[in-house]
């Protein structure tokens, strides 16, 4: 078993070799610009892009014409929010979103607020991180033009009831945008059934290349329009100008095709692996808490808080395993994870959290090794922890007066 082991598949994924193989001809042989209308180099590039559009659309039950290529989900989120606010400014300027969205949505919303272009309601979530459809309904005003709720959370894996929210949006005639970056290719996504009008997702989360993503833009019932944020040539039906990165798009298409074929079996396999990882750790260690919904969660996600032990020191001891933490010490801003805080998880447990993201190329052997190392490190660090010592003495940590700096 080779080290290091990669268990951080929410941050990115290794490319599937089949995807790489599909991409290679488009770098040196079939290198044409897909927008060149007058020669075979352009035509064969355009054909490859059209084929990829079909593969991508099939995965989400959309029409190929409804796929707009971007540089990634972050750009798609920007395009959806800014594009909709600009286009529908005569209808209103209110956005409803949630407090646990990815920064690509939250920062875009804040930027619109700061520029006076939108007012935003940030819905709180329940203790499992789920948005309640009723809260969405209650937040709607006559100025609301967009609801933006993520399909599945990147930190805690909780899956939101997007279908129910879609029904409310339809009823009220408001557009629903869904950041589905962590869900597409992992769980079934159907933009028709779920009532989604705009959807962001990217390739590098599904074993495709970095640098390309898509925004699904509904064409019928209703026809959604957005203002382009990138001007210059009118590519992607005027919604996103710029020469298409053909090899990346080919890879994106192939990645989606593989997901479409293998998603169900893979979901079962990874779900079982995740359950094994969870059981292995929680059976051996006390005071380990699950963050996120116990059942409505991505099959490959696990987020645990280990009381009395800080996340970065945990990761340091597990340096041969790639994971991530909600601890302040691991963030550039020294703030603990805002997602965990939104769940009502205390700061101390937020600092003690570890996120595991399983993927296509992980094995049972790697999981068993991880279980063993987690037990070792948590045990060692608890021996070194003054909080563990106090808890063992029966002291209620919540009652202590801390001499914080």
């Amino acid at each position: 078993m080779k080290l290091p082991i990669f268990l951080d598949n929410h941050s990115t994924t290794p490319m599937d070799p089949r995807v790489l193989e599909a991409m290679l001809p488009y770098f040196v042989e079939k290198f044409g610009n897909a927008a060149s209308r007058n020669h075979t180099f352009g035509w064969e590039a355009e054909e490859a892009v059209d084929n990829a559009r079909k593969q991508i659309a099939k995965l989400i039950h959309a029409d190929p014409k409804e796929i707009v290529f971007t540089s990634g989900a972050t750009e798609s989120d920007n395009l959806a929010l800014k594009g909709a606010i600009e286009m529908y400014h005569e209808k209103g300027n209110h956005i409803i979103t949630s407090s646990t969205e990815h920064r690509a949505v939250l920062d875009t919303a804040k930027s619109l607020e700061a520029k006076g272009k939108a007012t935003v309601t940030y819905l709180s979530v329940d203790k499992h991180g789920m948005v309640k459809p009723e809260d969405v309904r209650n937040a709607i005003t006559d100025k609301t033009v967009l609801i933006s709720i993520m399909l599945a959370n990147n930190e805690i894996g909780t899956i939101n009831p997007v279908g129910e929210i879609g029904k409310i949006a339809k009823e009220k005639g408001i557009l629903l945008h869904c950041d589905a970056t962590q869900g597409v290719g992992k769980i079934p996504v159907n933009v028709q059934e779920m009532g989604i009008d705009l959807m962001s997702f990217s390739a590098h989360k599904i074993y495709g290349p970095k640098g390309v993503g898509a925004l699904y833009v509904r064409k019928k019932a209703p026809r959604v329009r957005i203002s382009a944020q990138m001007d210059g040539g009118g590519h992607e039906r005027g919604m996103r100008s710029g020469t298409l990165p053909v090899p990346l798009i080919v890879g994106f298409g192939k990645a989606c095709e593989i997901c479409e074929q293998e998603m169900e079996a893979e979901g079962r396999r990874l779900g079982a692996m995740r359950d094994r990882l969870q059981a292995g750790i929680t059976n051996a260690l006390e005071e380990v808490y699950l963050n996120g919904h116990p059942t409505q969660r991505l099959p490959h996600n696990l987020n645990l808080s280990f009381a009395y032990v800080e996340g970065e020191s945990l990761l340091m001891g597990l340096k041969e395993i790639a994971l991530s933490s909600g601890s302040a010490c691991t963030s550039a801003t020294l703030e603990p994870s805002y997602v965990l805080r939104a769940l009502g998880v205390g700061s101390d447990l937020a600092h003690s959290s570890i996120r595991f993201g399983l993927g296509r190329f992980n094995t049972d052997e790697q999981v068993d090794y991880t279980i063993k190392r987690m037990i070792e490190i948590v045990t060692k660090l608890r021996e070194m922890s003054p909080l563990y010592e106090m808890a063992k003495e029966g002291i209620d940590l919540k009652s202590v007066q801390w001499a914080a700096h």
């Binding site: 800080e310 340091m316 302040a328 021996e383 070194m384």
Partner: protein
């Protein structure tokens, strides 16, 4: 985030992990930080005469926090109580090569040292500075 070799060493081989009995009169205990902040250090010294003969620590915090407090216990041993007052966080930063974002760990360690010294002095009936 690249850790200095010294920080890694202190993490893998922490010096003087453990506890003395708090109520013994030759023991000074300093507990600083807060779980909310992700940093709590408990530093203890054992004093004979005016010399610190032994030290122990326990820390809830990142690798740099653990290294800072581990280093502190190393430095405290053999110093007099007065000498120990002069240990500065900047010395810790330099010794461990802490990056700017981790300087606060060394500050907390200095606070822990001062708290332990103050606790001992109080117990010994001497004036706290």
């Amino acid at each position: 985030m690249a850790y200095s070799d010294k920080v890694v060493d202190h993490y893998n081989n922490p010096r003087n992990v453990g506890s003395f009995k708090k109520d013994e009169k030759d023991v000074g205990t300093g507990m600083v930080g807060a779980p909310e902040c992700g940093d709590v250090m408990k530093l203890q010294i054992k004093v004979e005469g005016d010399k610190i003969v032994d030290a122990r620590f326990k820390t809830f915090g990142c690798g740099s926090a653990i290294a800072s407090s581990s280093l502190a216990t190393e430095w405290l041993k053999g110093k007099t109580v007065e000498e120990a007052q002069t240990i500065k966080n900047t010395d810790i930063v330099q010794e461990l090569n802490l990056p700017p974002v981790k300087i606060h760990c060394s500050v907390l360690a200095e606070d822990a040292i001062k708290a332990a010294l103050a606790d001992y002095k109080k117990k010994a009936g001497k004036e706290t500075k």
